[in-house]
């Protein structure tokens, strides 16, 4: 195959600019990390809440939370992204709609983070629910016998255990967030995948470009994995098979 290799391409300047391709990649990495982390925090907060709500003693609340999970799990992420970016602003009240379209700062980034966060929340909710339901019924009863309110039962008894139990699936979900953040290119967030496409077109050094971007994704996912493993070790439940003292 007649491919012309050029590993020096990363240090060459972008046509019509004084940045190098390397600067481009670094800024792309920054946006990928920013979108992933924002979405991850949002996903955890909403996901834990939704997961807990699916296990409460109220049919309507459970149905609502189940509806949320089904809605966000059964529409492709990219389609959800287009809904948030193109459709939702149109459905807002006039004044708000205008503000979102014209004045919302870093509109693409905000939209992508909200979309990815709420998408991830639905998946986290399923795991949190499983973590709560796998605990013995006595846990909840004991909390109630001690006079805990509903909120206190979840805050001090059920969730602390559930979250530790679901650490392994949460770890892979964290890595999924980073991988899924790549769809943000479709609405113009200048993250790694966007940079990959752009740089491939401008420089025509596709293989070098994709190798660099793929490696950066790989490093991100690896670091996310290590971070979660450290947290998992630090928060182990004492006395369990996997756990510490």
């Amino acid at each position: 195959m007649g491919y012309h290799w050029n590993w020096g391409i990363f240090l060459e300047p972008i046509p019509g600019g004084d940045e190098t391709y390397l600067d481009w990649l670094i800024s792309g990495l920054g946006w990928t990390v920013a979108v992933s982390l924002t979405a991850w925090v949002l996903g955890l907060v909403v996901g834990v809440a939704m997961g807990a709500l699916r296990t409460v003693n109220n049919r309507w609340v459970v149905a609502l939370a189940t509806g949320y999970v089904e809605l966000f799990r059964n529409i492709p992420l990219l389609v959800q992204l287009f809904l948030w970016f193109f459709v939702v602003p149109e459905l807002l009240p006039k004044g708000l709609s205008l503000w979102v379209k014209q004045d919302l700062p870093a509109k693409e980034f905000v939209t992508a983070s909200i979309c990815l966060g709420l998408f991830t929340a639905a998946r986290i909710a399923e795991q949190v629910r499983a973590g709560i339901q796998s605990q013995a019924k006595g846990q909840r009863m004991a909390a109630q016998a001690l006079g805990f309110s509903g909120f206190q039962t979840y805050r001090f008894v059920l969730l602390p255990v559930a979250l530790r139990l679901v650490m392994p699936p949460l770890t892979s979900e964290f890595m999924n967030v980073i991988k899924n953040s790549s769809v943000a290119f479709a609405i113009g967030v200048i993250e790694l995948t966007f940079v990959a496409r752009q740089m491939q077109e401008e420089s025509e050094q596709g293989i070098e470009t994709y190798l660099a971007v793929t490696t950066l994704y790989f490093i991100c996912a690896y670091l996310a994995n290590r971070l979660m493993k450290v947290i998992e070790r630090r928060t182990q439940i004492p006395g369990t098979v996997g756990g510490g003292r």
Binding site: F82, L91, N180, S182, F185, I207, Y217
Partner: protein, 221 residues
């Protein structure tokens, strides 16, 4: 709030959307069948006694699972023409990419299935004088496949949703068709809502099928 919407574009663009849906379904079915076949071979390689088979299969599966699917799609779209020497088009590239990518995921499912079959089954097969391929083909794989059927179908629902990512290389799937129709009729909002509803209905129906299947298999045992 919904006052400005005009869904009359939906019937007008229906034949166009149907073409896109056909491609998405086609891509899903091809990648599912191809992925399960290649995935099963990958699983057998990962479980084999030969490091020469085990190492590359493990590397392939781990690599596919740690790279974003979008990057895999872009990789194949770039590399296939370099190898074959001529462009093959976004649609064909998508078919190859999804088969190769899904093989890694179906492979992991089949590996779990094979590992779940009890060892005595293999010994019984060997005691009857069967060689490796016969034990696999007649004893282990049929059981592994049936036990894993619900998981394989769940993966297919994910696969169907993932096909929307071929947007990145411009293949005309369901989402791309809605995208184009929305631009042509200047009604993107309605088209995106419509296509989201189609995806939602199909995926919900498939998940319901999987749950039914799970119940039936549970009774059979």
């Amino acid at each position: 709030m919904f006052g400005g919407l005009d869904f009359s574009v939906v019937p007008a663009s229906l034949p166009f959307i149907a073409d896109g849906l056909m491609f998405s379904v086609n891509l899903t079915v091809v990648a599912m069948i191809g992925g399960i076949v290649i995935g099963t071979l990958l699983a057998m390689a990962r479980l084999s006694d030969f490091p020469m088979l085990r190492a590359p299969a493990t590397f392939y599966v781990d690599a596919m699972r740690s790279i974003p699917l979008l990057m895999v799609i872009l990789w194949f779209f770039l590399v296939i023409p370099l190898i074959t020497g001529k462009p093959i088009g976004a649609e064909k590239s998508a078919l190859i990419t999804f088969t190769a990518f899904q093989a890694a995921f179906y492979g992991e499912i089949m590996r779990a299935g094979i590992q779940g079959v009890s060892r005595g089954q293999v010994w019984a097969g060997q005691a009857l004088g069967m060689n490796y391929w016969r034990v696999m083909g007649h004893v282990v794989l049929p059981q592994a496949f049936r036990n894993m059927l619900p998981v394989l179908f769940t993966q297919t629902v994910i696969l169907f949703q993932d096909t929307s990512l071929v947007y990145a290389i411009g293949a005309k799937d369901l989402l791309k068709a809605a995208d184009i129709a929305g631009k042509n009729y200047n009604r993107p909002v309605e088209m995106y809502l419509f296509v989201a509803a189609i995806y939602f209905a199909i995926c919900l129906f498939l998940s319901w099928l999987v749950r039914r299947l799970q119940r039936r298999i549970a009774i059979l045992r």
